[in-house]
Symmetry: C2
Subunit: 340 residues, 2 copies
């Protein structure tokens, strides 16, 4: 049985984590697509492995896709489907399955139905699959949906997710207005300038899996203001008392069936003693609470991608949500032994 052949498409922090995990599992990496600053470098070196992988990073994606034979591309580039569209289209047209960490691709049918539909058709024409997965797969979608199986009467689902944006570099800190002036941020937010919460598509994936339909979706973002000076490693400076540490974004989605889905995303530069938190409450009878103690996102993301590879290759074709793939589980044997 041949090994699974992968392309690492995007070699930032996530792509590097995935690379280390793929190498550990003996999965073939046949290509790497990255930005100009890494071009020509070996993927093993960039991912800080103790050996080269003999895979040169190339910024010409079409060149890589044309000149390799890959089963699946792991695409870690951006969040929105609009940004992802050309990358996904290119892979699918080359006959390569895709798993991406793009948050919107988790369930794009409400937020970008047109782009999702176009990619779905391209995937079907080329007999390949694409899915949005990674950290959200288990912890944000499949786990809470499974818990509803113990509901006698389901009234709602409520999630809380707190994480330290300082771990993700300056671009992410600035995306959530870290280090900015409070008044400026409040003005921007009033003009609708808040980023879309990751809970939007997370909750929509749950809604779809439960056979419900969305009636209304809204979100409200509030700046989290430092009540004392906090060090930001990503910004390389101190965020002063009164400046913004990040955002709390509250998402509410009503369904036509009367079940309400809510999420609270707390994306901020941490003060000391703060911990990541992922918590779900299944509301109704009975009320259920589940907390998973912080699983490092950077580990959780690559593991849920790598353990999923056989599922994505096995799936027929077109877009598939992580709720439609088989339930996630650890792969103890070589990954290719799980192929149909």
């Amino acid at each position: 049985m041949s090994k699974i052949r992968t392309i690492v498409y995007g070699v930032g922090a996530t792509g590097q984590n995935v690379t280390r995990h793929l190498a550990e599992r003996g999965v073939d990496i046949v290509g790497a697509i990255g930005r100009v600053e890494n071009v020509g470098a070996d993927l093993g070196t960039v991912a800080e492995l103790d050996r080269e992988l003999n895979v040169e990073i190339n910024d010409d994606a079409d060149d890589v896709l044309e000149n390799t034979e890959a089963d699946v591309a792991i695409v870690s580039i951006a969040s929105t489907l609009e940004e992802m569209y050309p990358h996904l289209k290119r892979c699918l047209e080359a006959g390569v399955n895709v798993i991406t960490t793009s948050e919107e691709t988790l369930y794009p049918w409400y937020t970008s139905p047109d782009l999702a539909g176009r990619l779905d058709r391209i995937a079907i024409e080329n007999d390949v699959t694409f899915t949005g997965g990674g950290y959200q797969d288990i912890f944000e979608v499949n786990l809470p949906v499974m818990l509803t199986g113990a509901s006698r009467k389901l009234d709602g689902v409520d999630g809380t997710n707190r994480y330290n944006i300082d771990d993700y570099g300056p671009a992410v800190v600035e995306y959530f207005f870290g280090g900015k002036d409070r008044d400026d941020v409040e003005e921007k937010l009033e003009r609708g300038g808040a980023p879309e919460s990751l809970f939007r598509t997370t909750l929509e994936a749950q809604i779809a899996e439960l056979g419900l339909s969305e009636a209304d979706a809204s979100q409200k973002a509030t700046p989290i203001v430092a009540d004392r000076a906090v060090e930001s490693e990503a910004l390389g400076r101190t965020i002063q008392e009164g400046e913004v540490l990040g955002l709390e974004i509250d998402v509410t989605i009503e369904t036509h069936e009367g079940i309400t889905f809510t999420g609270t995303e707390i994306a901020k530069v941490y003060d000391t003693e703060e911990e990541d938190r992922n918590e779900w409450v299944i509301e109704g009878t009975p009320e259920m609470h589940v907390v998973d103690q912080p699983t490092p996102v950077e580990v959780g993301t690559s593991t849920q991608i790598v353990n999923r590879l056989p599922d994505i290759i096995n799936y027929e074709s077109g877009f598939v949500s992580v709720t439609e793939l088989p339930r996630p589980k650890y792969r103890v044997g070589p990954l290719e032994t799980y192929l149909d």
Copy 2:
């Protein structure tokens, strides 16, 4: 579309809970099988509904199975497959699907392969399905297995389950030696007189789903001794300091793949301030902890049975483990709308 037609087989605490839930969901109950003390009573009255269900409890199971047209029987009678065998055989031969709360039926292939194989053949011959489910479905099997999907390297799975045997009546308290003399209990345990922990089949269901194979299974039971007087409602008396409150049973299962499965069952009469606990640790990289805040077992059992009914009817035939059924979820619409 016709409603799902059920038989409530066993009308103790679990059967009564299931009855209330079925009535709430508008599922047809076409028969009830109970012990002699309830014979002739209406199932609605026995289940403390505010109305009769026009279902008379009958202690002649064959009579009920012959004279009703049922899709599925919900069998809550006993724990071991040996005790359950005649009841399951009878239902399957009558062409009725079965879901049972019998702990061993959750995954009987290691502990009672012969009986399991015989029932499997009978089910296939009669084109019906049987499964062991209820509380363990999500919280003890599907939830921990799903979490392994975020493992980079899985070393083991460890569960802890603490519950108050005083809630389950005097038979259960005595089963775990509640109220007995410490020396007598220790002597009995030394002679191998401990009950089989529910973790045995729970962990074996996980092992099977992960594609692993069992090398060795063992358990060690230790009496939990009262360090002060504790009131037992089930026994109707005080358990004195030095007497036994219940058992801690530690189960260890080694697999040929080197992954170890362990469980700690704490079954005791509670002192004040003790709470139910269901906790799983996924050992390895990363180490993951999940705690679900106590979901009342009596609610969790009936809900996981009722939400499962369409899955059991839809499944082809033979024995099916809860890991092989579709992933559990809440059913917002009438249950019959989920039939294939």
